[in-house]
Symmetry: C2
Subunit: 183 residues, 2 copies
């Protein structure tokens, strides 16, 4: 295993439950010293719900820099007629605009679903510090599944990754969305 | 090896040189039946040169649909302050706008450098039919190197891939660019 392999191992040894409403204290986070008025997870889930209302697969994301929310987005693939308009990609692009830099040094991404290969690649290119994701994606995910983007020695920037936070909330949102579409 | 593994094997058995100015006839291409007024490779290389003039890493791309150029772009990472503004990503997004669809069925991408993980992911999401790339990228490439995005069974759409076309022209452009930056 590469030395660069991301730090999900830390979660396995973390005694705190990976489920629940507020897990912000359970992982090392600078936000504990400078509390946000809004939980980044609540924002990411609000974005996911808004995406569902637009008929998009309910995935939401937000980016935090120095204790402040600098970007938030939900999937807009259909609305924007853009195959790259995943929540994470839109949040990364918005954060780069907000911060005036193509490198998001010290920034943390919260997303309700494990990022795909495209988004994981963008996360690395943007130099994000940490990725917190809710539900794992066995088919489309590319951090802990499939191409495992961050586990290759050629990956030039590997963020810390914490998966499975609020997993059941995200899984339920996705399940309800696809169930409603089938009926 | 996955059944879905892309078709670079065809190149190895192709008797035609992978170098040279016009290799358009050497790979199966619908364009031979409906010739373009401009060679997609010339457009991609023009975009790469324009990128270099802007101080961006010289990579250019264009997308062809039914014998017509529907999008062209060069790297704009610095100019757009966008870590995702790779030539391929911009071309994919522009093609989706032009064609009014987030799925680029039957479209072919020409790019002067092997796509990275982000771009390879976007290529798959956009359902591009074929990818022609010039120079391989041993460090950042993710088709024939690193994460090898299309070689995983979970990859939901695998395009045909033809690499090494006009390889030396692209390599020279990149070499000159980095040499000039160091001096």
């Amino acid at each position: 295993m590469s030395q660069n392999f991301h730090q999900n191992d830390q979660i396995a040894s973390n005694p705190v439950s990976r489920e629940g409403k507020s897990q912000m204290q359970s992982v090392p986070d600078p936000l504990t010293q400078d509390p946000l008025t809004q939980d980044p997870w609540d924002i990411a889930f609000d974005e996911a719900k808004d995406a569902a209302h637009r008929g998009e697969v309910p995935v939401g994301a937000c980016i935090v820099s120095e204790g402040k929310i600098v970007a938030r987005a939900g999937n807009r693939i259909i609305a924007a007629r853009d195959p790259s308009a995943h929540a994470e990609m839109l949040a990364i692009r918005a954060a780069a605009q907000t911060l005036g830099s193509e490198r998001l040094i010290g920034c943390d991404l919260y997303v309700t679903l494990e990022p795909c290969a495209m988004c994981a690649g963008a996360i690395s290119l943007a130099r994000l510090r940490r990725v917190y994701y809710a539900a794992p994606d066995l088919k489309g995910g590319a951090i802990d599944h499939g191409a495992r983007i961050f586990s290759h020695p050629t990956c030039h920037h590997v963020p810390e990754v914490y998966g499975g936070i609020r997993e059941s909330q995200s899984a339920e949102l996705l399940r309800d969305f696809f169930k409603a579409r089938r009926s």
